[in-house]
Chain length 272, copies 2
């Protein structure tokens, strides 16, 4: 059971993980960034506690920490209780959600092992927007994607805003870099995946025509503006598209991903 | 051709449509709100110019107004040219996109006529978040939804932020209120629609099993937290769900809508 500790001084050194989040956490992967995983709100903190990331500490108002008593069973990390004012002064802004948790990063899993167990994989190229990335992980978790591979140009999925937008699901869906790029695509194909590049390019075929029952599928997704690089599309088995009504160029990347994940699972299960 | 007029005084009364947008436009449907449609950025302004809404004026930096010369052909409204500084002072914040347009609202179309011509209809209940509403219209436009009906609790789709998030597609997809509610659902069924309520409720069936080839479909969508009311679900022909992986309670409402629109079109076209 986590030890519950009252704090009243925003300068308390034990709250260092949560200090000045709006600035110090801006780019945790950069020099000066602390590289911690930060979860905000009961739902996301619960998902952090259930994840493989080693929890370091919690900070919350009394009501929230008490509401999480069961979740804190078996957690070997301090839970700091403070007033909303002390919390706001510590983190640098007012928190609506009333509870935070910090964790260390974990080493990225081996892509080979990750993919071996997977049936549906998403491969992202150039998804640099933290909110799109978070939303995409939420959709991946909801729609049965087993692993996410990150090609060049993607943001850090563990950035605080991505974690929040993902509703914490980025802490549950395993991810790893894919290197080299795009030659790694060949390795996916050799591992038994049918690799589909989602693109509105003229030679693409409708998504629903591209997958047979039981096939293991990896879908390549690019960012909203430029889309996938030609090199990535050429490395795939086929270019696929979501049929769109005239005049509408594209969906948001996370939304397009959700449609693709749904369609691929429906097709590979042999449903209509 | 729109008349291009230089302005240098942020207080110029001809710029009244664009003044203090962040406050005056907050709730255009409320007293003090001016009820105008405001489009921001070249892409959205173009969609406004192509829409049925009567354009009142444009305001932009020279470069943007010049880039839109062709679009302004045949537009009978003034295009005011100003510096970025004058624009910022007029609207009350700095505009990255460099061009704005204003239009009057148009009377809501008759829901009967709207639905008569439609094959796929979205019916929204309690979608109060402007960004979700805008994203939902973008997805509706991309995925072949012919009309949107608004049940109680929905926000104003023509609010500035909805227009922006929709990428201007809210100006192209026709919408109207549906009244009374939920009795209006019966009227949809009598008009030849199969009415499906999207809900994770236990008695729901997978989306892909619910529609036959060629069927006209109306899909009921509720907001992310509370979802559809029981009264709305009970009024539908069937409750349907998007199959989700264990532990993930729901998708964002606009994302769920996109998956549903895709699945319904794929099913009703008889594709796999």
């Amino acid at each position: 059971m986590a030890q519950v500790i009252e704090v009243s001084d925003p300068g308390d050194p034990r709250l260092a993980d949560f200090r000045d989040l709006s600035t110090a956490d801006r780019r945790p992967d950069r020099p000066g960034g602390r590289g911690l995983v930060i979860a905000e709100g009961v739902v996301v903190v619960r998902r952090l506690l259930a994840s493989p990331y080693p929890v370091r500490a919690l900070l919350g108002v009394r009501r929230r920490i008490e509401a999480m008593a069961e979740d804190l069973d078996g957690i070997d990390a301090p839970a700091y209780v403070a007033t909303a004012e002390v919390m706001a002064e510590t983190v640098g802004f007012h928190l609506n959600r009333g509870v935070l948790a910090s964790a260390d990063r974990a080493p990225a899993p081996d892509p080979l092992e990750l993919v071996e167990r997977a049936r549906t994989v998403a491969v992202l190229e150039g998804v640099g927007d933290h909110e799109n990335l978070g939303a995409l992980f939420r959709n991946a978790a909801a729609l049965g994607v087993d692993a996410v591979l990150l090609a060049p140009g993607c943001s850090d999925p563990l950035y605080r805003r991505s974690v929040r937008v993902s509703m914490g699901h980025v802490l549950a869906v395993p991810f790893a870099p894919i290197e080299p790029w795009p030659d790694g695509v060949k390795w996916l194909r050799d591992s038994g995946f049918r690799v589909l590049a989602l693109t509105p390019r003229a030679d693409s075929v409708p998504l629903s025509d591209a997958v047979g029952p039981g096939e293991r599928v990896a879908v390549l997704l690019g960012s909203e503006g430029p889309g996938l690089t030609d090199a990535a599309i050429d490395a795939a088995d086929a270019a696929v598209r979501i049929p769109m009504a005239g005049g509408v160029d594209s969906l948001n990347v996370a939304t397009a991903a959700a449609v693709a994940f749904y369609a691929l699972n429906a097709s590979s299960e042999g449903g209509s």
